[in-house]
Amino acid sequence: MSQKQSFKKDIESARRDFPVLSQLINGCPLTYLDSGASAQMPQSVVERLNNYHAKEHANIHRGVYQLSERATQEYEDARKKISEFLNARKAEEIIFTRGTTNAINLVANSFGREFFKAGDEIIISYMEHHSNIVPWQMLCEQLGTKLKVVPISDVGELDMSVFGELLNERTKLVAITHVSNVLGTVNPVNEITAMAHDCGAKVLIDGAQSAPHMPVDVQDIDCDFYVFSGHKMCGPTGIGVLYAKMDLLNRMRPYEGGGDMILSVSFDKTLYAEVPAKFEAGTPPIAAAIGLGSAVDYLNNIGMSVIHEYEQSLTKYAMDSLREVSDLKFFGTSPTKSGVISFNVKGIHAHDMGTLLNDYGVAVRTGHHCAQPVMERYKVPATTRASLYLYNTRDDIDVLVESIRKVQKLFN
């Protein structure tokens, strides 16, 4: 039996791994379709966190006693798991951060502020999350660097020919999302990286919406930086990851100063610790890092390609079902899109839709999704977004479609 079949057979049990999903909301079974904002945690991760708090907690890298040494080992094991998950060259290339936003700010400050100057250019795209826009804007204000923006097409794909035109010898960094959190578009990150490298620019990939859903190989992409958040991939909040190539990490300045990031401190001269400690000042979110390691175990047990395939088929089912709803307009219809589905129904504001869907236990995101330039591009104030994950089923999609029809009836 192929892996795919065994996952399909197991899909019911995968759903049962998530205790939160078995509750009623307004008397209806919860239909959770907001994993793009935050995914739910399986019981195994909840238990791992519980166990850590109940029996294993101590500060790391500091104690010579057993408890501290064990916590340190678990924390470093989590780093190793994540480095294997991304196929990084070594574990030290994995820096723990508070999340995607924090990781991007780290790169803007430790890399951008150190190596960019006035007149240099940074390329982003119209489909970035605010967290991959604002840190660069702030940097540009400080340094006089220029921000260039790759436009997107009606179906929601990057205009690669404009991207090619924007690249030049002044381009220092290309910061692009792997998967759009509004449109679901999967961007050609290998091609983008190769083109940027040809111009001598570095590449940051925002993996917040890709790491949880598909196999990612940072060596294959060859990107210089790759960032993601734990809470979108079955892990806890407060933890995220910056992957960066070792030679860059070695040349970058520390982001924050404090304990754990130093070799020695004196008032004459402070020596910084080696990578990765250099970028992890202060007591890190130890439990959350270990929890993320456990989430990686969970995902690996199912298999990232299996998850990807399952979600692709569910996305197709969802798009086909929603297409049957009258007066429904999609935002983002790229043929290879991931399970992030934005839409509006004529005559019904997204916020009214979201509020009323909640009556049927359906949790969707409504608003601008921290991506106001995308809203502006499609001339809408807000959209309704259903985002899928491994625990969603066709039943969830059927409930969504049925509930949208009920809301429509209410308005007509």
């Binding site: 504001h349 916020h351 009214d352 009556d359 608003g367 809408v380 104030p381």
Partner: protein
């Protein structure tokens, strides 16, 4: 009460047949209100004579809660005094944020349906926007937003 009931009982009626819909030509008072987070954009225009609101109109693009709130607002304000309008604005704010005692809800009449909004903190600003804009019109402020310095309900849930 479920959201569906709130919508069914009043909101949708006012959305389908908004009262006092439009913009008065050459009004004595006017203001524009925006909620950048949901894209709501509305106008309130009034003719006030001797402290009495002779006419008030409301128009804009918004979600149903905002639209119904605006429509109902005009019916309550029209023909009354500016003092009464200001009192109603305060009461409405108290109602939607849950600061009002149940007994006082009676004076708000049909508006008391909006007390259900308390359970939907992220929607309080939608209901408040017309009233917020009315305040601006009375004070000749011109334009107001639900965000920043003019936030009518600071600290309430928003879509960041």
């Amino acid at each position: 009460m479920s959201s569906k009931q709130i919508y069914q009982e009043v909101i949708l009626d006012h959305c389908k047949k908004p009262r006092n819909w439009g913009k008065i030509d050459n009004p004595t008072h006017k203001a524009e209100g925006i909620n950048p987070l949901c894209g709501d954009h509305i106008w309130v225009t009034m003719n006030v004579r001797d402290d009495t609101v002779d006419d008030i109109q409301y128009e804009g693009e918004s979600c149903a809660i905002c639209m119904a709130s605006g429509s109902m607002m005009t019916t309550k304000i029209k023909g009354g005094s500016l003092v009464a309008a200001s009192k109603l604005i305060d009461d409405f704010r108290a109602l939607t944020t849950g600061a009002l005692e149940n007994t006082e809800e009676k004076t708000l009449g049909s508006l008391s349906i909006f007390s259900g909004i308390r359970d939907l903190p992220s929607r309080v600003k939608c209901a408040m926007l017309p009233w917020h804009t009315l305040t601006a019109a009375i004070n000749s402020q011109g334009e107001v937003s639900t965000e920043g310095d003019h936030d009518p309900v600071p600290g309430s849930g928003t879509d960041k």
